[in-house]
């Protein structure tokens, strides 16, 4: 895709060479390597955890030392970590993450995740859609009406949302809004009226985040010479904003969008807790607290892989949004 910019088609070999030397390819293999290393180190480090976490509480209590040792060996906990790691990778490709030992004893981790992820994902994506829409709208409005009433009100909103501990306003929103509209206080999959508040609550902070950064970048851009030049040339204000200012201001924000989208999977501890949503929020914390090594391993791996993937996709998105980046590669000196 890096070659898309070339006007005359290159010879296949040069194209191949260019591809291998391109920024996109480099980022791809770097990411793959990072993922591999993360998986490996998480796997190896978890073998150093206290062994209780590899047993259900009951099994651990009733087994003798010798039985425990056998069990650990059978289940691939003790032994050569490299061999074990590749065996684990094999299982991983077959979709087998092993069992949870403490949080939900004797239940497959894939089952736990497949039950919980949809909730966090649904709420996360809905809230991200809302945040992007309202956040950008607010940001643009604030930039457009800089130092006017809209800007002031927007700033007030951003300051309040970011300065007041979220627990306070989230809780008050729950009590007041459900009371005012007379709807159930907690989430229920059967009652759509309970779906809105968690999404809105999830969006409040990110709307503020998108708005304040977009405003800032747009104001920066608007003061740049090329904008002044375009204005002087007589380009309509609307085009300047949509074609130049907005596009350039979005570049630094675009990088984070894929990452944020992927990490919605991890859920929200506070919101899932106050609305009783059985999502992923707090699962990792709970797993660590209960020393459920199998689950900790899977979650840490999942989140770090998604993290790496998110950054990678962010960079790729930058390639699309910002043509200058394609030129940043070593060989692209044209």
């Amino acid at each position: 895709m890096a070659t898309a910019q070339k006007k005359t088609p290159a010879k296949p070999r040069t194209r191949m060479k260019r591809f291998f030397q391109s920024y996109g390819f480099r980022r791809s293999w770097q990411s793959a390597l990072t993922v591999f290393l993360v998986l490996f180190f998480v796997f190896v480090l978890l073998r150093l955890m206290p062994i209780e976490g590899y047993f259900t509480r009951q099994d651990y209590e009733i087994m003798t030392e010798a039985q425990r040792a056998d069990y650990l060996e059978e289940n691939g906990i003790t032994g050569n970590p490299v061999v074990l790691f590749f065996r684990f990778l094999g299982n991983l490709f077959r979709g087998d993450l092993g069992m949870s030992f403490r949080i939900q004893p004797n239940v497959e981790i894939t089952r736990i995740l497949s039950e919980k992820i949809p909730y966090s994902l649904m709420f996360g994506i809905a809230s991200m859609g809302i945040s992007l829409f309202f956040g950008f709208a607010l940001g643009m409005a604030m930039a457009h009406y800089k130092d006017r009433l809209v800007d002031g009100a927007g700033t007030l909103y951003v300051v309040v949302v970011r300065a007041v501990p979220s627990l306070i306003y989230l809780f008050l929103i729950q009590i007041w809004v459900t009371g005012f509209f007379n709807i159930p206080m907690t989430y229920s999959s059967k009652d759509p009226s309970t779906w809105f508040l968690p999404v809105i609550s999830l969006s409040l902070a990110s709307i503020a985040w998108y708005a304040i950064w977009l405003r800032r970048f747009m104001v920066d851009e608007e003061n740049k010479d090329y904008v002044k030049f375009a204005k002087a040339k007589g380009v309509p204000q609307k085009r300047i904003i949509s074609g130049h200012v907005l596009r350039n201001a979005l570049v630094p924000l675009a990088q984070y969008i894929p990452l944020q989208l992927l990490l919605t999977i991890s859920g929200s501890l506070i919101i899932e807790s106050i609305y009783s949503i059985p999502g992923m929020g707090g699962l990792l914390i709970e797993a660590i607290k209960e020393k459920d090594n199998g689950l900790v391993q899977s979650l840490v791996m999942l989140f770090s892989v998604l993290g790496v993937l998110g950054v990678y996709l962010g960079d790729m998105l930058m390639l699309l949004v910002d043509p200058r980046i394609k030129l940043a590669g070593k060989t692209d000196g044209e």
Binding site: Q104, F171, S273, S276
Partner: protein
């Protein structure tokens, strides 16, 4: 013609009336869904091990045993229609009702519950590899059970031969058998007149062996991997979210089940709970901490707050007889010092931290709870200790405490002011605190407390209380803190001089508690040894006639209390709450699962007021007395 018209009009009028009546009946009908919440998640749901209340609530309602407690606490038939015992109370035979079914999570009937299911249940409980269970309470009650468990444990240690061969010995060793399809018999190791009280616990629940084998390690991990035989089946179980129990259409006693559905939802915050109750989204709610004071002063809600019944759990203080703190160790051996402590602790002030309105009612002066054990004449076991009970909050007598302390001091402190037999030096109480032992007064007393506000407040109060009574020149309380599990980090290693804990009562015999307080006993956490007490307990437990048995147990209990080995403090339970549950319709029982059942509970549209509660309480107590007198005839 006219007649026809009249008839038609009359019929129309009747129809109208009927419609109005049904309409009226519908609008006035009492609710039939019980909405409640829980805070801690249930990780696995096997009927024989339910450590948390949520799990107990679910298991108690989806599984029935042989017998259960009714709303007066009497034993009533459940899956067993009737039962008999031999004259010496060692052979108990239960006649099961026909047609009781195992149902699955969709309410579909699977198989009949048979006598063999009870045998298989005990087989499952006895195997430590299959389930964790509180099997120690019945280990020595049923013939051969302890031997069988011992064999399995030996096998697991040495692993010689096949485990199946050991498992096969169950039928010949253990005193339980299915005489026929509907009769199960237990043979006990010694006369056990109180055997019924074991049967209401989870340990004697039946089990469908075929289903459990099919499920394998997945048994109890989700609603699909469980079978039910209780008043309800588990319709929904989503971890971190909810349990929904739906009335079992095949239940033998289904006409008595007024509540059609029980919905338990996980709600993390207690403030949310109350808010939900106020909006009518919950059937009942309990209040804790500051909420009590807030709603007690709230004109709109104060009339709806009622105190729930005390439980059979007892909190008591116990001194550490194996303390590393030499000063305390020297004194605690003195009976006069122990008596001084008994009279010095102001239990009422401490109880007020947890209940500022009815703290005095929560105090208890005996090791065993009231109103739980009765002899053959219907007399409460604790009536033999009436003088102690009558003391109430009056165990706190600072003058008497100082006098006792004086005599301990005279016995232990020499003319130079040195405590006899104590060498000066430094001593570490775990990693909690380091003491400078100077072998002089004041004695240092280590009190280890948790980090919560209540616990900290209690520790500070206790410190002020003891130092005020004895004077700082005589006794100084050193406070230490623990963060994790109290039993494992404080009690077991002995990192305390004085400590309290809660003790639950497991079956209807004083032995349940006193038998575990003998030298080296399971709940003898302070590590005392009173040979006279041990002998009394042994003698008492050999008596079959209850009144005689209880007399001896009471004598033993008195020894521990008057000797200052155990300092009873307060009862468990007794929480404040608001509820739309009609009071005294729920099953009642000091132990076992019956009290967690929704069977029999009737709901009403509005929260129960104080007046209603008191009125129903009086009626209930009257009825209870009548029942007792009938029972004793």
């Amino acid at each position: 013609m006219v007649n026809k018209q009249k008839l038609l009009m009359a019929a129309f009028g009747m129809l109208l009336l009927a419609l109005t009546l049904t309409g009226y009946a519908q609008s006035g009908a009492s609710p039939d869904v019980y909405y409640s919440t829980y805070t801690t998640d249930v990780t696995i749901l096997k009927q024989y091990y339910v450590p948390d209340t949520t799990g107990k609530k679910v298991i108690a309602n989806v599984m029935d045993g042989l017998i259960e407690n009714d709303r007066f606490g009497f034993y009533a038939p459940s899956l067993a229609e009737s039962w008999t015992h031999s004259d010496d109370f060692t052979v108990w035979t239960f006649q099961l009702r026909k047609g009781a079914m195992w149902v699955d999570h969709s309410g579909k009937a699977r198989e009949e519950v048979t006598a063999q299911d009870f045998v298989d249940g005990l087989r499952y409980v006895a195997d430590p590899k299959k389930t964790k269970a509180d099997v120690s309470i019945i280990k020595n009650v049923i013939v051969g059970l302890a031997d069988y468990i011992g064999l399995l444990q030996d096998y697991d240690k040495n692993r010689k031969g096949a485990r199946e061969d050991v498992e096969k010995k169950f039928d010949e060793l253990v005193g339980v058998k299915a005489i026929d399809r509907y009769r199960v018999q237990y043979v006990l190791a010694s006369p056990t007149p109180f055997f019924e009280s074991f049967l209401v616990t989870e340990i004697f629940l039946p089990l469908n062996q075929k289903f459990v084998l099919e499920a394998g390690i997945r048994y109890g991990t989700s609603k699909e991997y469980l079978l039910y035989n209780g008043a309800y089946y588990l319709d929904t179980w989503q971890r971190n979210k909810e349990f929904v129990l739906v009335k079992n259409p095949h239940y033998y006693d289904k006409d008595k089940i007024a509540i059609q559905k029980v919905a338990l939802q996980k709600v993390a915050d207690s403030a949310t709970n109350i808010e939900m109750f106020k909006r009518g989204q919950l059937t009942s709610v309990s209040l804790a901490g500051n909420q009590i004071a807030f709603y007690m002063d709230n004109p709109k809600w104060k009339d709806f707050i009622n105190l729930s019944e005390k439980s059979s759990v007892v909190f008591w203080f116990f001194p550490n007889f194996r303390s590393k703190n030499a000063e305390f160790s020297a004194f605690i051996q003195q009976e006069s010092f122990r008596k001084a402590l008994y009279h010095a602790i102001d239990r009422l002030i401490l109880a007020q931290i947890y209940n500022s309105y009815d703290a005095e009612e929560m105090l208890i002066n005996t090791i065993l709870p009231d109103d739980v054990i009765f002899d053959e004449k219907g007399n409460d076991y604790t009536s033999a200790l009436q003088d102690l009970k009558d003391l109430g909050k009056g165990t706190y007598q600072p003058e008497l405490a100082r006098a006792y302390f004086q005599s301990a001091r005279e016995a232990l402190v020499d003319a130079k002011g040195m405590i006899k037999g104590v060498k000066p030096g430094k001593v570490k109480i775990g990693s909690l605190v380091e003491l400078d032992i100077d072998a002089k007064l004041p004695i240092q007393l280590v009190y280890t407390h948790g980090t919560s506000t209540d616990e900290t407040q209690m520790a500070l109060l206790l410190k002020a209380n003891l130092e005020q009574v004895f004077g700082k020149e005589n006794l100084r309380v050193v406070l230490a803190q623990y963060t994790n599990n109290k039993y494992e980090t404080v009690i077991l290693p002995g990192y305390y001089d004085l400590c309290y804990d809660s003790f639950s009562f497991k079956y209807a015999d004083p032995f349940a508690q006193l038998g575990r307080l003998v030298t080296g006993g399971e709940v003898n956490d302070g590590g005392f040894s009173v040979p006279e007490f041990d002998a009394l307990v042994a003698e008492a437990s050999s008596k079959i006639l209850l009144s005689e048995r209880y007399q001896l147990f009471a004598k033993a209990e008195r020894l521990l209390i008057e000797g200052g080995y155990i300092l009873p403090w307060e009862s468990g339970g007794g929480t404040y709450g608001m509820s739309k549950e009609k009071p005294f319709t729920a099953p009642r029982g000091g132990f076992g699962l019956s009290r967690f059942k929704y069977k029999g509970i009737v709901l009403q549209n509005d929260p129960v007021t104080k007046d209603e509660f008191e009125k129903l309480k009086t009626e209930y107590l009257k009825e209870l007395e009548e029942r007792k007198s009938i029972f004793n005839q």
